[in-house]
């Protein structure tokens, strides 16, 4: 990807909201969590929101790191492996009870499945299909507006 800082943030927020939201909507019922469905949905959507909000900060870090790249690009793999630090941070905050709005207990397996699938879906869409509805997106550093 060839992002600008604004483009990074816009793309993250929109893709997490739309693609992340869809994936969450679909997979929550089958996640291994012993809680009522409404609680499961609330917890997983709160986690999704946390990934989005914290992600704005992460994007600042990525943008800073990108400045050391001559090409000022963000290689495809970087977009995938950044799932690890981001996922770990959200998990640690979750365990520390620092994410407001969580009602039940989120088991590790459910978290990994949910976070992993959302991340993968967002990454896949950002690396191809996104260009179909948003023809100008790739030439505008990932900005949508």
């Amino acid at each position: 990807m060839l992002p600008t800082l604004g483009g990074r943030i816009q793309t993250r927020l929109v893709l997490l909201a739309v693609i992340g939201g869809l994936v969450t909507l679909i997979i929550v019922p089958v996640l291994p969590i012993s809680a009522p469905l409404s609680v499961k949905y609330q917890d997983m959507f709160v986690i999704l929101a946390a990934v989005a909000v914290l992600g704005v900060g992460w994007e600042l870090v990525y943008h800073f790191l990108m400045q050391w790249r001559w090409e000022k690009d963000w290689p495809t793999l970087f977009g995938l492996v950044t799932a690890v630090p981001e996922g770990v941070l959200v998990w640690l905050l979750l365990k520390a009870g620092a994410i407001p709005g969580i009602k039940g207990t989120v088991p590790g397996a459910a978290y990994v499945i949910d976070f992993g699938l959302v991340w993968l879906a967002v990454w896949l869409v950002a690396n191809g299909p996104m260009r179909v509805p948003f023809l100008r997106w790739r030439f505008h550093g990932g900005r949508l507006v």
Binding site: K72, D73, F139, G141
Partner: protein, 544 residues
């Protein structure tokens, strides 16, 4: 992003299948560059009269008096190469019908010149060009990318894996030339390209009094009753490609003095005889230049050497020898070694959409020229296979690099002796062949249509001397009433967008032009839903 000129359709300099490059030198006196005054034809002859040649603006009556028939069409694209193709493709997808656009060209198909140049500069169809996976001139969305298309059609994950781990753990994925041409052919049929083509040589574009432009075309002899025909268009798009290529001055002098076009060749002209000679005897070949074409030629010699067990020696002369990473500070440092500056594509990748594109869009004048200088310079991609071959050559002594400039060349015992001025003094190098891979480009005024434009339209030059275009690729100073003239491709290098002479650069320009035309009411702006619908039509190979 490509190692070969993308907007290389040429309506004036090169014939459709040129066998040699233009060998032009700048005149010592710039005034001498002005085209010689052309004598006008008599009125009513169907040719250019004195009145037409002299006037910056033409009236309908002037053409009538000259006897030149006029055809009205809303938009004309001049060039007919990939630059025209990508722009017209965009407009077709935006809903413009084939009868509202004409492409004036001497090319039979849009990728004709490109295919020729890639072939002679050692990229035959099975080889890979220097272009990004998502830079598809046959697909305005860049999806599916070339890597995905290759993975599906060849049933392999390898291209996708490469795209995943590039550029850190693998070289950048680049598509095969043959795949690019096949895609262009498919898209060409889909959008009805041939229905819009008008074959001939464009002579000039002049403003029309009252708005719009007249484009003068010289059709092939015998096809029309008059020598010239005119097109009247409200919108003109110029994509005439490179005005021409130049030899290094000392090579040009040597060729002229000795009339030797055999031992001193350009990598942009057919030079297969060099490789054939290497298969029959021991040769020393001198390469000049440190760009992608030098890498390609070097790779060909090294491949042949390995494949046929040859003993060819290579002396590689760099004018600017890059020995390590270089740049003004830690966040502007390009890799380099062994003479070469390394870069995936011909500009840092983000000029095509990211941070550098956004930055350049804001810069004016000298600041822009400085930024071009920082990002520019000859460079080539770091490819692992080439690195291994060069290392083997250096270790074994059959590949030697030098830094310097050539003062003079002479013929001695059948060898070409170059006197190289190095930091350690003068060194003489004898070689059987010299291949000029520098790809120096001629000035835009050496292209007849552009020279006429500069003289008569009010169009000027940008900070690096090419055509001055707005961010929308409108030619500054060329407006004619409601009429607008646009330009894209190599002739606009130096503008607010750097990567103009590449596949993706042509698409960036096409998008800007299409959006500007939509603002002016010529077509619809492609919105989200139209984009999706049109992509589905593309996927099913249905007409836009």
């Amino acid at each position: 992003m490509t190692d070969q000129p993308a907007g290389i359709a040429d309506d004036g300099g090169l014939p459709p299948q040129p066998e040699t490059v233009q060998r032009l030198r700048p005149p010592a006196n710039p005034a001498a560059a002005a085209p010689a005054a052309e004598a006008g034809a008599p009125p009513g002859s169907g040719d250019l009269t004195d009145e037409l040649l002299r006037s910056d603006q033409w009236t309908d009556q002037m053409l009538q008096a000259a006897g030149i028939p006029v055809t009205h069409v809303p938009l004309v694209s001049v060039g007919g190469g990939i630059g025209s193709f990508v722009t017209v493709d965009y407009l077709r997808i935006a809903g413009v019908s084939t009868d509202r656009m004409k492409v004036l060209t001497n090319l039979d198909f849009a990728w004709q010149t490109y295919e020729y140049l890639t072939r002679v500069s050692q990229i035959p169809k099975p080889e890979r060009i220097r272009s990004d996976s998502a830079s598809r001139p046959d697909n305005i969305w860049g999806f599916p990318s070339y890597a995905l298309a290759e993975a599906v059609s060849e049933r392999t994950f390898a291209p996708l894996w490469q795209v995943l781990i590039e550029p850190i753990w693998a070289d950048y994925y680049t598509p095969k030339a043959g795949r690019v041409f096949a895609g262009l052919e498919r898209e060409s049929k889909r959008i009805g390209w041939s229905q819009m083509l008008v074959k001939g040589q464009v002579r000039m574009v002049r403003k029309r009094q009252g708005g719009g432009y007249f484009i003068i075309l010289t059709p092939m002899a015998g096809l029309t009753p008059t020598k010239r025909v005119a097109y009247l268009a409200e919108f003109v798009h110029l994509a005439v490609g490179y005005p021409g290529l130049r030899f290094l001055p000392e090579l040009q002098d040597f060729r002229t003095e000795h009339q030797d076009f055999h031992h001193v060749v350009s990598a942009y002209e057919l030079h297969e005889h060099v490789y054939e000679a290497a298969r029959t005897k021991h040769l020393v070949v001198m390469l000049r230049g440190g760009g992608i074409v030098a890498s390609r030629v070097l790779a060909r010699i090294m491949d042949d050497r390995a494949r046929h067990g040859l003993s060819t020696e290579i002396v590689h002369l760099f004018r600017t020898y890059i020995s390590s990473s270089h740049g003004p500070n830690a966040w502007n440092r390009r890799k380099g070694a062994d003479g070469f500056a390394y870069q995936g594509f011909n500009y840092p990748k983000s000029v095509w959409g990211g941070q550098l594109k956004a930055e350049m869009r804001r810069l004016e004048g000298q600041q822009r020229a400085d930024k071009y200088k920082l990002m520019g310079g000859t460079n080539t991609p770091y490819r692992r296979r080439w690195q291994a071959q060069m290392k083997e050559g250096r270790d074994a002594g059959w590949y030697r690099t030098m830094a310097g400039t050539v003062d003079q060349m002479r013929l001695e015992n059948g060898k070409i002796v170059s006197c190289v001025k190095t930091s350690n003094g003068m060194v003489e190098v004898a070689a059987d062949f010299v291949i000029d891979c520098t790809g120096l480009e001629a000035d835009i005024a050496e292209h007849r249509v552009l020279a006429d434009l500069l003289a008569h339209s009010g169009t000027g030059r940008n900070p690096v001397g090419r055509l001055d275009v707005e961010r929308t690729f409108e030619l500054r100073g060329s407006a004619s009433g409601p009429g607008v003239m646009y330009a894209s491709g190599a002739t606009t290098l130096g503008g607010y967008f750097p990567g103009v002479d590449t596949f993706l650069g042509l698409q960036v320009a096409a998008q800007e032009i299409a959006d500007d035309l939509a603002r002016r009411g010529f077509c619809r702006r492609i919105g989200t839903f139209r984009s999706i619908r049109q992509w589905l039509r593309w996927a099913r190979n249905k007409q836009p």
